[in-house]
Amino acid sequence: MTDLTELGVKAIRDGVAAGDFSAREVAEAFNANVEAAQQALNAFIVATPEKAIEAASAVDAARAKGEALGKMAGVPIGMKDLFATKGVQTTAASHILEGFVPEYESTVSANLWKAGAGMLGKLNLDQFAMGSSNETSYFGNVISPWRKAGSNAALAPGGSSGGSSAAIAARLCPAATGTDTGGSIRQPAAFVGISGIKPTYGRCSRWGVVAFASSLDQAGPMARDVTDCAIMLEAMAGFDPKDSTSLNLPVPQWEAGLNADLRGKKVGIPREYRMDGTDPEILASWDRGIEWLKDAGAEIVDVSLPHTKYALPAYYIVAPAEASSNLARYDGVRYGLRDLPEGAGLQDMYAATRAAGFGDEVKRRIMIGTYVLSAGFYDAYYNQAQRVRTLIANDFKAAFELCDVILAPTTPTASFPLGDKVDDPLAMYLNDVFAVPASLAGLPAMSVPWGLNSDGLPLGLQIIGRAFDEQGVLNAGLAIESRAMFNAKPEKWW
């Protein structure tokens, strides 16, 4: 019998529907992998094998009764621990929410369960999704299943959705949810050789997702290939009246619309993304990607995104500003950690609770955010950053007059060793330099695997599309995927 954990979303769904294997068998196989890898990879904060079995059994029972099965029926997935899950601890990888068990289910996770998916567990992440290497988690960093050729050094799985990326690459789950505020789906996907799409801002409800930066946060699927992402995104997305920024649009049939034939399409190559200091292998991968899309029938056009260099600074004003306000609710009053020293008053309790409950990176961003919003600095920082944001969105609008999708690298380098950048926040922030512009503009963007670099580590390519055109992004991704023929997987060492 085939190893069920080598199967992706589509293969599992179709196999369960056809009766090739039961959903329960699939869940059991992944549960076993989760357990076996936990010690070494630390991908999960909590495993929920019973939830996976329960959902699988329900699917098997429904199939036995001849009932119609959902889009994700029988597929067990990992849930980033930023999504509130009813009755299951939800921490955002923070100490301040350690032990917090919500009485509600996020809209996105509820949509997935409705579609027949089951939960293998809550995946580790950077604390409050702030980080690019998973090293800011209170529950210890996730370790990438990948290793450099000839080295045993532990590598970063990317972040913030590093638990998601590591678990998929290591076959602990066929797919997982991610969230992307400034690259948190795309960068980890690129680091471990999987696919991940951040849809248009508003496609997936933010209701029940622990907020980092509200105007940027967007959930999306991470999976082994483009088709699996399309299937899962269909299950996750949809208008939600509980989220005022949710898009009131029907969910397109992305899976049915997949088409790798790009004849008649134009692919834009933004000249400003060819930055000094970018790894030559990354630039080479980009050139190769251009060739592939040409081969798929697309016309290649040069485009300009002139305000690209201001994107990262603007992002690091807007995101911390919103975060400093969004995280004010973690105050020790109503839930989560409360540190109340003997004889302490309210202010002392706030200080003690938040000092103990937040990690360094979270504190850093709260302080940056508080600073940029404070009287006398608001105009120079926050308002200026918002203006930059508008200019960046206009850059993309102008570029999309000339092309249908944009091709760019996902990251400036391949995965780096854990500990390498942990003391240098700016170097860490630079990891998201190619990812952040699409986030600021709210555009759909995806990373697909390109291949392995000379160190044997995966690289990804990024496709950015027009607002609401996830289909165009997925199709270009599929065209790359079918030419990259990426099938490498990390050699099992755990």
């Binding site: 997702v209 509980k242 989220d243 920024t245 004010a328 105050d331 309210l346």
Partner: protein
């Protein structure tokens, strides 16, 4: 426009300058951004949704009804309605503020400039009508409440109010005396209650004011102001102003300077004390709430708001005077409270229908009944009266009988008294209890003849020129009729018989 109110200082006269920020709770079944209920007096923390408690991942969704009520209020003060407005976060930490920020509107409020008119009131030192400018109205969330008396060392938090919709109605610094401020508060309250956007219940905290006060030499630039927070009655607002103005004048005259600060009013002593100075003021770090899209109102929505506005206090008062020919006093009294005019207008309509007359013809009778007769009877009865029995139809029946001459004014009161106690039908009471007056000329003439015959000596005296005896004959006749003779008819017939 001269307001005579002046503070007499040791060095001369001072003028007080007043601006009010009124927080009015929007009448709505649900909170501004959550579906939780808003009833007053519920068990602590029984009206709290996940959003109000700021659980992780919860998001605000604007409540259309709250927006509608604020827009209607803006229209009622003839203000600019901003079809595009936006919510901002006001960030600060406090235990009654679960999100760590209040969702408010700093930069782009829903309602722009408007005004209301306070009426001349000679006695209060307001010589003529005065227009008070209103800067803006914005909508925002209320905070919860801390309870410090439940535990020896801890404070408890009640989040029932957390997230309740408030309108902040900001006046311009246009008022110059406590009386003007009081009149402004009363007028604003009346408008809110007419519109139905706030119940105006100050005891329950539905309406409270931040009182901004400064003093200056007449004609000078504005002085430094203080802001006294959360004053919750019209009387306290006036006391706050009196005290603050006096305090500031004394301070300045003693060589001190007024500091811009937040103060608290103590209703026990009628004084204010410092809460925090400008140096300790919070930096609220306002920025647009990224969880919410800008609020955009379309024409259809605005049209509906406009169409749903009732007749407002000024217009109603004008109509009562000009259309119903009521006195200024009656018009003012009847239009002061929503309940008063509602009862009056219903009774007016029923009475006019009953008498087949126009409303104008019966308005004065109905107004006098509503303002003095009926309340007099009700107050005299105290607890014996069941107000539920005081229906418009019962009162219209009484007024109808009185207008037709079937009952006297005194009988009307007696009948109303029985109605209030028992709920019986007025017509039936008049019949059964013999509370009808005799208007039949034949019957009355017979009684008069008897009276004149029995008092022939007095008749002679009267005819001899002792006019004052006329009252005696009226009294004798009424006495013989057990008070049930229609006085007008009795008078008329007596006059004819005696003089004829």
């Amino acid at each position: 426009m001269v307001t005579s109110y002046r503070i007499q200082g040791a060095t001369g006269e001072w003028e007080v300058v007043i601006g009010l920020e009124v927080h009015a709770q929007v009448t709505s079944n649900a909170k501004l951004f959550s579906g939780a209920a808003t009833a007053f007096g519920a068990e602590p923390n029984s009206q709290v949704s996940l959003v109000d408690a700021a659980m992780p991942g919860m998001l605000p969704v604007p409540n259309r009804e709250c927006i509608r009520q604020a827009v209607r209020t803006g229209m009622a003060i003839e203000a600019q309605i901003n079809a595009w407005s936006r919510f901002d976060r006001k960030n600060y930490f406090y235990a009654d503020l679960p999100q760590g920020y209040q969702i408010s509107q700093l930069y782009h409020p829903l309602v722009g400039e408007g005004s209301l008119t306070i009426e001349a009131d000679e006695k209060a030192g307001i010589p003529e009508d005065k227009v008070i400018g209103i800067e803006r109205i914005h909508v925002e969330q209320d905070a919860g409440k801390l309870m410090h008396d439940q535990h020896p060392s801890m404070s408890y938090v009640d989040l029932n109010r957390s997230g309740v919709a408030l309108m902040e109605i900001v006046s311009k610094p246009d008022m110059r005396s406590p009386a003007e401020a009081g009149a402004y508060m009363r007028k604003l309250r009346a408008i809110l209650r007419y519109v139905g956007s706030c119940d105006g219940n100050m005891e329950e905290g539905s309406m409270r004011a931040d009182v901004n006060v400064s003093v200056r030499r007449v004609g000078d630039e504005f002085g430094t102001r203080t802001e006294t927070k959360n004053v919750n009655s019209v009387r306290f607002v006036m006391q706050t102003i009196e005290h603050e103005a006096r305090r500031q004048v004394d301070l300045i005259e003693d060589g001190g300077t007024v500091v811009q600060e937040t103060r608290l009013f103590d209703p026990g002593t009628g004084t204010t004390r410092s809460m925090r100075s400008k140096e300790d003021a919070h930096d609220y770090r306002y920025f647009p709430d990224p969880d919410l899209l800008p609020l955009e109102l379309d024409e259809a929505f605005l049209d509906e708001c406009r169409a749903s506005l009732p007749e407002l206090p000024d217009a109603k008062r004008r109509r009562y005077v000009e259309g119903l020919c009521l006195s200024d006093y009656n018009a003012r009294e009847l239009t002061a409270e929503v309940e008063t005019f509602a009862r009056f207008e219903q009774l007016l309509a029923e009475t006019a229908t009953k008498l087949e007359k126009s409303e104008t013809e019966v308005a004065t009778q109905v107004a006098n009944w509503s303002l003095s007769v009926a309340p007099g009877v009700m107050n005299a009865l105290g607890n014996e009266a069941n107000p539920a029995h005081a229906t418009a139809s019962a009162q219209a029946a009484i007024l109808g009988m009185q207008a037709a001459g079937d009952i006297s004014g005194g009988q009307a009161k007696e009948i109303f008294e029985i109605v209030l106690k028992t709920g019986r039908d007025p017509q039936e009471i008049a019949e059964t209890e013999g509370l009808k007056q005799q208007s039949d000329t034949g019957a009355i003439e017979a009684v008069i003849d008897d009276v004149l015959a029995a008092n022939a000596d007095k008749v002679a005296e009267y005819r001899g020129g002792k006019d004052k005896l006329f009252g005696f004959f009226v009294g004798q006749t009424m006495k013989a009729m057990q008070g049930k003779g229609n006085p007008a008819v009795v008078n008329q017939l007596l006059k004819a018989k005696l003089d004829g």
